[in-house]
């Protein structure tokens, strides 16, 4: 099953352009606003989220911040005009943003970036699953040890 990628932008032409770039390789879901994107995130497991920064109502960074609790392991990428870079620094530093891409973007760079993002996603998912398995095993071990001492 192909990975699901969500693109959020208030400019329909941008949504279509980006959809064309990725639709061959991935399942692309688009949203015209942050609110719409959050609704979709509640229902679908998205691997990579690419959002525009400047949108009316919810900004891209706000969307990314709010998406953390819904999809903690999803990889977050922001598309931005240069003038927003400083606002991004904090979000990037706090680890909520994987990478930012400046407009106008290059399709090839963006494709490469998403490939890397998916590797990152795979790794962190595996890491998370290993952690879960580890926890389960530790729990079992504790139970066994308790049983051993009881006997």
């Amino acid at each position: 099953m192909p990975y699901k990628i969500m693109i959020v932008d208030d400019e329909p032409a941008n949504l279509r352009a980006l959809e064309r770039v990725f639709s061959l390789d991935y399942e692309v879901i688009t949203a015209g606003s942050g609110a719409e994107a959050l609704d979709i995130l509640k229902q679908q497991d998205i691997a990579v989220l690419i959002t525009d920064q400047r949108m009316p109502a919810m900004t891209g960074i706000d969307l990314l911040k709010r998406s953390v609790s819904l999809r903690p392991r999803m990889v977050r990428i922001i598309l931005t005009g240069y003038s927003d870079i400083e606002a991004l620094v904090e979000a990037i530093n706090s680890g909520q943003v994987y990478k930012y891409v400046t407009k106008p973007w290059s399709n090839e760079d963006l494709k490469l970036l998403v490939r890397r993002a998916l590797e990152h996603y795979e790794n962190s998912k595996q890491h998370y699953e290993l952690e879960l398995a580890n926890q389960r095993l530790s729990q079992r071990l504790r139970e066994i040890q308790q049983l051993a001492t009881l006997d």
Partner: protein, 439 residues
């Protein structure tokens, strides 16, 4: 200017004046003594028997007033008057004569005598004349010092006016830069979106057409029924299929070229204005110069104007990048305009000299006339036709360079060209530099 001096309105001469003696010059001993005795009651009086003696007195101390007999042996009273008005202008003169010829009186008064008395003269009249002469002298001195004071004040006002003009020009400049910067950044931002999807779509379009071409080429190899084959050939001819297929990729290539150029403009506008980075930071000067040149392609891509760049090894320097770019912009536009439509060369040279970066921009244009050279950095000074120059370009340049703790100088030889040299310190204390264009 010394403010305490400025503040003082007038020096008081009157006190000093009253202490100054009166000189009585007459070859007749009786007259001289009578005068000295009479005036001696109120004033300090000194007598002299002839002009020679009088001049010796005058040379040794200052007199408020000299009373001169007209007819004297040796140097006459008139000649003495002439000498006094020339060499001792601070001393007032009253002429006394036994002869009252109108012409002589007029001559004496014209030469600077305050009064002309006819002998024998009433002593009351003499006293009155002396009083009036001293009074007049005091008034003259006062008005003279008023004049000096006024002139000083005028000069101060002129200086203040020049300072105000300079400040106003700076204000105009910062307003202009702020609005230009906002415009540039606004335009860049608005262009980002369409430029983004056009560039992206052009790539996708190329992929789509390549795919379609693949399909069409396959169809070409498929054998059609004779009927279909004829119809296909007719359609191909109608739409000029071969030419269309050939042109399609060219067309896309052209559009891609256009779109990427659009992106370059946006990028350059961004480098140029750097409005969102209107802060003090370390920047590579060469990047700024190069992006400015790209913005000036209107001048610097023409065949007759060659551009030579001789860049030295430079570390990044502390500056407001957008403002420094304005400096390169102004100097490079001027250089190109100096050459105009003729063949010419503009050379940009950079080098590290100790703790400073030296950037020189030279052109092979007309040069600047010597009489204008020391005015080029003045606000509102321009030699360009009305509407082409604001007279603020070099002034702005100068202000920005100064704000960065640097210097700018120009050297020009009429007919041979001009070289501007900008020297910027590698490290400027942040406090000494304030972003004027920022709001």
């Amino acid at each position: 200017m010394d403010e305490s001096k400025e503040g003082r309105i007038l020096p008081s001469h009157d006190a000093a004046l009253e202490d100054l003696p009166i000189l009585v010059v007459d070859d007749e001993k009786v007259v001289r003594q009578t005068f000295v005795e009479c005036l001696g009651e109120h004033y300090d009086c000194v007598g002299a028997a002839d002009s020679e003696e009088a001049l010796t007195h005058l040379a040794s101390r200052q007199f408020a007033l000299a009373i001169l007999d007209v007819q004297m042996p040796g140097l006459s009273g008139i000649e003495l008057l002439r000498k006094i008005t020339k060499d001792f202008p601070e001393t007032a003169v009253i002429m006394v004569s036994g002869v009252g010829r109108a012409q002589r009186v007029v001559d004496a008064l014209r030469l600077g005598a305050f009064e002309y008395l006819i002998k024998p003269c009433d002593l009351d009249v003499l006293e009155l004349a002396v009083e009036r002469a001293l009074e007049r002298r005091a008034l003259l001195r006062t008005s003279k010092s008023y004049k000096v004071d006024l002139e000083r004040r005028n000069k101060k006002l002129e200086r203040q006016k020049a300072e105000l003009e300079r400040l106003q020009a700076q204000l105009v400049h910062s307003e202009k830069m702020a609005s230009l910067g906002q415009l540039a950044s606004g335009v860049a931002h608005e262009l980002n979106n369409p430029a983004g999807f056009i560039l992206s779509n052009m790539e996708t379009l190329r992929n789509y057409t390549t795919a379609l071409e693949q399909l069409l080429k396959f169809y070409d190899t498929v054998s059609l029924t004779p009927d279909h084959s004829i119809r296909a050939a007719a359609i191909k001819e109608d739409i000029r299929y071969e030419k269309l297929m050939h042109d399609l990729s060219l067309l896309i290539a052209d559009c891609q070229e256009g779109a990427s150029r659009l992106c370059d403009i946006v990028k350059n506008l961004r480098t140029f204005s750097r409005l969102d980075e209107a802060e003090f930071k370390k920047v590579h000067i060469h990047e700024g110069i190069d992006s400015t040149i790209r913005l000036l392609s209107r001048y610097y891509s023409s065949d007759h104007l060659s551009l030579e760049r001789q860049y030295g090894e430079l570390p990044p320097i502390d500056c407001f990048a957008g403002q420094l770019n304005q400096v390169w912009m102004n100097l490079l536009v001027n250089a190109a305009q100096a050459i105009g439509d003729r063949e010419g060369r503009v050379k940009i040279e950079t080098q590290l000299q100790g703790e400073t970066v030296v950037v020189s921009i030279s052109d092979t244009g007309d040069g600047i006339a010597t009489e204008n050279l020391n005015r080029i950095f003045d606000p509102f000074f321009t030699t360009k036709p009305v509407g082409e120059g604001t007279g603020l370009g070099l002034f702005t340049t100068y202000s920005i360079v100064k704000r960065h703790g640097g210097t700018i100088s120009a050297e020009s030889h009429s007919g041979k060209g001009t070289i501007f040299t900008v020297v910027l310190p590698l490290n400027v204390k942040r406090e000494t530099v304030t972003p004027e264009g920022k709001r």
